[in-house]
């Protein structure tokens, strides 16, 4: 329903909702991702932003490089021991409320690399909301994760994380 059609059908009526629902709706439909491109998954993340998949349909095309302007961090790729403190710093720099998608097997569990160099799952240093399996996941998988996250954000209301 277009905006004009909506206004017309409302006429002189008013809509009632809770503030929490309204804020959740707003937040959920304008999630700005922090592009934390690390490895292979970053390329599939770029694919998600291009024409064939088009993440813009879900209000998340504004991939930000600065953590100050982002709501959601997509950890796309393997996190090494050397990168881990930097990832945590960047997470801390993001304003609340913030969410994390752990994209791919390496970010979620270490993937095929069970060794000294990699953090065995980014959830050891930052709280993760949605895990995306795959090595790397298809762009559609990332989109699905975003949709799951949007549902959660919408249900969370004013105070997303206690």
């Amino acid at each position: 329903m277009g905006v004009e059609a909506l206004a017309e059908s409302l006429g002189q009526n008013i809509l009632t909702t809770t503030l929490g629902k309204l804020i959740g709706w707003g937040r959920g439909n304008s999630v700005w991702p922090l592009q934390f491109g690390l490895a292979c998954c970053a390329i599939e993340m770029i694919h998600t932003a291009t024409a064939s998949v088009d993440i813009a349909r879900f209000g998340s095309e504004a991939m930000r490089a600065s953590p100050r302007q982002a709501d959601m961090m997509i950890v796309s790729g393997r996190v090494s021991q050397k990168m881990a403190p930097i990832l945590r710093t960047i997470y801390d720099q993001m304003p609340e409320p913030k969410w994390v998608i752990s994209m791919g097997a390496c970010a979620s569990t270490g993937g095929v690399f069970n060794n000294y160099a990699l953090l065995q799952g980014v959830d050891k240093i930052v709280p993760v909301d949605v895990y995306v399996p795959g090595c790397p996941p298809r762009p559609e998988d990332l989109l699905n994760a975003l949709m799951i996250l949007q549902e959660r954000i919408k249900a969370q209301g004013i105070t997303p994380r206690q």
Partner: protein
């Protein structure tokens, strides 16, 4: 030309020609090969022969240099066997500039000290890392995989496995 008295041994492994030189002569040998036309250092690395059952290696660490002659399109592999704690060998970064990072990586991963290197610091691992990961007595690490029969061998260094 590289003189024969620098070469300890020569051979062919799987079609690749190689020569072995004494570790103290590495700089001289590589310099001579460079004069001969082997101007590209393809790679430089180290192999850890800890607990090798064949017993054909004179020392634990083998530093390998692969050189290429871009005119005749030939490759030659130079080996030098070193021992000691830490193992030491001369740096060749003045002959081949790409060796700079390769030597830093070999130092980082195997603890081989390259004498004369301008900035021998860790390159891949964090500066506060302890140990040299690619040595055979450094465990693979990671997390224990539940219910896996590889568990034992995975976490134990090869000589105990």
């Amino acid at each position: 030309m590289i003189s024969d008295n620098l070469i300890l041994e020569r051979g062919v492994s799987a079609g690749d020609a190689w020569i072995a030189v004494a570790p103290e002569n590495v700089h001289m040998a590589l310099g001579a090969l460079k004069e001969e036309g082997y101007r590209l250092l393809v790679f430089l690395t180290c192999v850890d022969h800890l607990a090798d059952s064949s017993g054909q290696f004179p020392a634990r660490f083998e530093v390998v240099y692969e050189l290429r002659n871009m005119e005749t399109r030939e490759l030659i592999r130079v080996r030098a066997f070193i021992d000691g704690d830490p193992p030491r060998i001369d740096s060749v970064h003045d002959l081949f500039p790409p060796a700079n990072w390769d030597e830093r990586e070999t130092f980082d991963m195997f603890g081989v000290v390259f004498a004369g290197h301008p900035d021998l610091t860790r390159i891949l691992m964090p500066d506060d890392w302890v140990g040299h990961p690619l040595r055979r007595d450094f465990p693979v690490g990671g997390e224990v995989v539940e219910f896996s029969e590889e568990h034992e061998t995975w976490q134990t260094a090869p000589e105990k496995a």
